[in-house]
C-alpha cells in the first residue's frame, strides 16, 4: 500500500468527524510539490481556472468532465478512469479540491469521486477565495501531468446518491429531507418572477416534509471556510434534530449546493446515511404529478389511478 498523506493537524479540523477531509491553505501551500497529492480546481465559472490557479493544480470541470455528454448522468467507469488518468491521479492519490463560490463545485466533484470510491479526497477549507485573499501564488501555467494508471471502478449510485423515486419513497417516512436552497426558492417565490429563467423549473416550492437549511449556514461568510464543529452541531444536530443514523436526503437545484451540505453532514458531523439527490429541483419542479409543498397550498395527493 502506498504511504498515506498525513492529516492536516490544524486544531479546528481536529474537532470534525473526519479531520482528514479538509486541509488548510497553509498546509497545502507547503505541499504543492508533493507527488502523492494532486490539487484540482472545480468552479462555477468555467473560465476562472484559466485566469489563474494554484500552481500545479489541474482543472476538473463539473459539466465538461464529470457529466456524461449525452445522458443526464455522470461519466461511467471508463470515463472516470480516463479522466483521473489524464489528470495524473492514481487510486492512491490524495486529491485536494478547491473552487469558487464557497467550494460548491469542489464539494460536488468530491462527491462524484466518492461515487467511484476514491478514498483520499479532501477539500481546501476556504477554497479559491481564501487562497487569493491571503496573497498566495497563482499561475496561468497549465500543468501537463504524465498519464497515470487508474483502474476501472463501477460507480456506486446507492450509498450516497438518491433519485426521484427514492425521494418519492422517502416522503412520509421517518427519513429526513433537507432542502438547502435559499428561503425564496424553498417557499416557491423565486420561480414566480417573470422573465427570470435561471431556475429552470416550472413549479416552485419544495418536496413535502423537507426542512429548509440553506447551505450558506455552514460557512463563515468572510473567508469562506466551514464553521467550526460545535457551531455546525448546533445547527444540524441540535436545532434540526438530525441524528447520526438518520436516513437523510439533501437536495438543492442541480445538486451542487446539496453536495456541500452532504460534505458537512457526512464528513464533518459524521452522519452515516446521507444521500444527495442530484436531480434536485430542476427535476422535481418539472416532473409530472410529484407532490409539491408551498406555503398556503395543501399538498395535493396524486389522483386518477394508474401506476
Amino acid at each position: 500500500m502506498a504511504p498515506s498523506t498525513e492529516t492536516d493537524p490544524d486544531p479546528k479540523l481536529a474537532a470534525y468527524h473526519r479531520p482528514d477531509r479538509l486541509v488548510t491553505t497553509a498546509w497545502l501551500a507547503e505541499r504543492l510539490d508533493d507527488p502523492a497529492i494532486v490539487v484540482a480546481e472545480s468552479d462555477e465559472d468555467v473560465l476562472l481556472y484559466e485566469t489563474g490557479h494554484i500552481p500545479g493544480a489541474v482543472k476538473i470541470d463539473w459539466h465538461a468532465d464529470l457529466n456524461d455528454p449525452v445522458a443526464r448522468d455522470y461519466v461511467d467507469a471508463d470515463g472516470f478512469a480516463a479522466l483521473m488518468a489524464a489528470k495524473g491521479v492514481t487510486r492512491d492519490t490524495t486529491l485536494v479540491f478547491y473552487g469558487d463560490n464557497f467550494n460548491w463545485w469542489a464539494a460536488y466533484a468530491m462527491w462524484v469521486c466518492k461515487l467511484f470510491g476514491h478514498e483520499d479526497v479532501r477539500l481546501l477549507d476556504g477554497g479559491r477565495k481564501k487562497w487569493i485573499d491571503e496573497g498566495r501564488p497563482l499561475t496561468t501555467e497549465v500543468p501537463a501531468p504524465a498519464p497515470a494508471e487508474y483502474p476501472r471502478v463501477e460507480r456506486d449510485d446507492v450509498a450516497i446518491r438518491a433519485f426521484k423515486e427514492d425521494v418519492l419513497a422517502h416522503i412520509g417516512t421517518a427519513g429526513r429531507l433537507v432542502d438547502v436552497r435559499s428561503l425564496g426558492e424553498y417557499s416557491g417565490e423565486l420561480t414566480h418572477m417573470p422573465d427570470y429563467p435561471q431556475e429552470g423549473a416550472i413549479r416552485g416550492g419544495h418536496v413535502p416534509g423537507a426542512v429548509n437549511v440553506p447551505w450558506r449556514r455552514a460557512v463563515n461568510e468572510e473567508d469562506g471556510t466551514f464553521k467550526p464543529a460545535d457551531e455546525l452541531r448546533a445547527i444540524y444536530l441540535e436545532e434540526q434534530g438530525l441524528r447520526p443514523g438518520d436516513d437523510v436526503i439533501a437536495y438543492c437545484r442541480i445538486g451542487e449546493r446539496s453536495s456541500h451540505t452532504w460534505f458537512v453532514l457526512t464528513q464533518l458531523l459524521g452522519l452515516e446515511n446521507v444521500r444527495n439527490y442530484d436531480g434536485s429541483w430542476v427535476e422535481w419542479g418539472n416532473a409530472v404529478r410529484v407532490p409539491i409543498e408551498r406555503p398556503g397550498h395543501p399538498v395535493r395527493p396524486p389522483i386518477g389511478g394508474g401506476r
Binding site: 476562472l48 463560490n101 422573465d195 442541480i254
Partner: protein, 144 residues
C-alpha cells in the same frame, strides 16, 4: 444578424473545442471598462439578476442612431465578462434595428454548450434580452 457579431459566432464555431474557452477568455479580457459618465453615476446601469455575479448593462442610443453598449462585470466572473465582451464587440455601435433583430438564441451556433452548461449559457440570452428591452425603452419610448 449584424456582420460583426456573425463573424464572432463563426470564429467560435470554427475553433476546436479547447480553443473556444481561450477565445472567450480573450473577449473577457478585452471588455472595455465603463466610461467615466457611467462609472461616476451608475443610475443608467441595469443589473442583470439572472447572472449569479453582480453584472450591469446599459444601452445608450446616440444622436447618430447608433447604440453604445456598456457592461460592468467583476474580474471574478470571467465567463460573464466573456459574454459581455462578445456582445460588446459584436453589437456596440449597431443601430437599434440591428440589436432588436438579433436572434435571441444567436449564441447556440457558437458551440459553447459542450464546455458550458446549458443552464449557464442562458446568461448570454438574458443579457441580450436586457439590452433589447433598454433599446426599446430608450429609442421608442416604449415603457412596457
Amino acid at each position: 444578424m449584424r456582420p460583426e457579431l456573425q463573424e464572432i459566432v463563426d470564429d467560435f464555431a470554427a475553433s476546436p473545442k479547447a480553443m473556444r474557452l481561450e477565445l472567450l477568455l480573450d473577449f473577457a479580457n478585452s471588455l472595455p471598462a465603463l466610461p467615466a459618465h457611467l462609472a461616476d453615476d451608475r443610475s443608467g446601469l441595469e443589473q442583470v439578476v439572472e447572472c449569479q455575479t453582480p453584472f450591469f448593462v446599459a444601452a445608450e442610443p446616440g444622436p447618430d442612431g447608433r447604440v453604445a453598449l456598456y457592461f460592468d462585470a467583476p474580474p471574478e466572473a470571467p465567463t460573464t465578462r466573456g459574454y459581455a465582451g462578445v456582445l460588446s464587440a459584436g453589437l456596440s455601435g449597431a443601430t437599434a434595428e440591428e440589436i432588436l433583430t438579433t436572434p435571441s438564441d444567436f449564441y447556440t451556433a457558437m458551440g459553447l454548450s459542450e464546455i458550458i452548461s446549458p443552464l449557464r449559457l442562458r446568461g448570454m440570452g438574458a443579457i441580450l434580452g436586457r439590452l433589447k428591452r433598454q433599446v426599446h425603452q430608450r429609442v421608442d419610448g416604449d415603457a412596457s
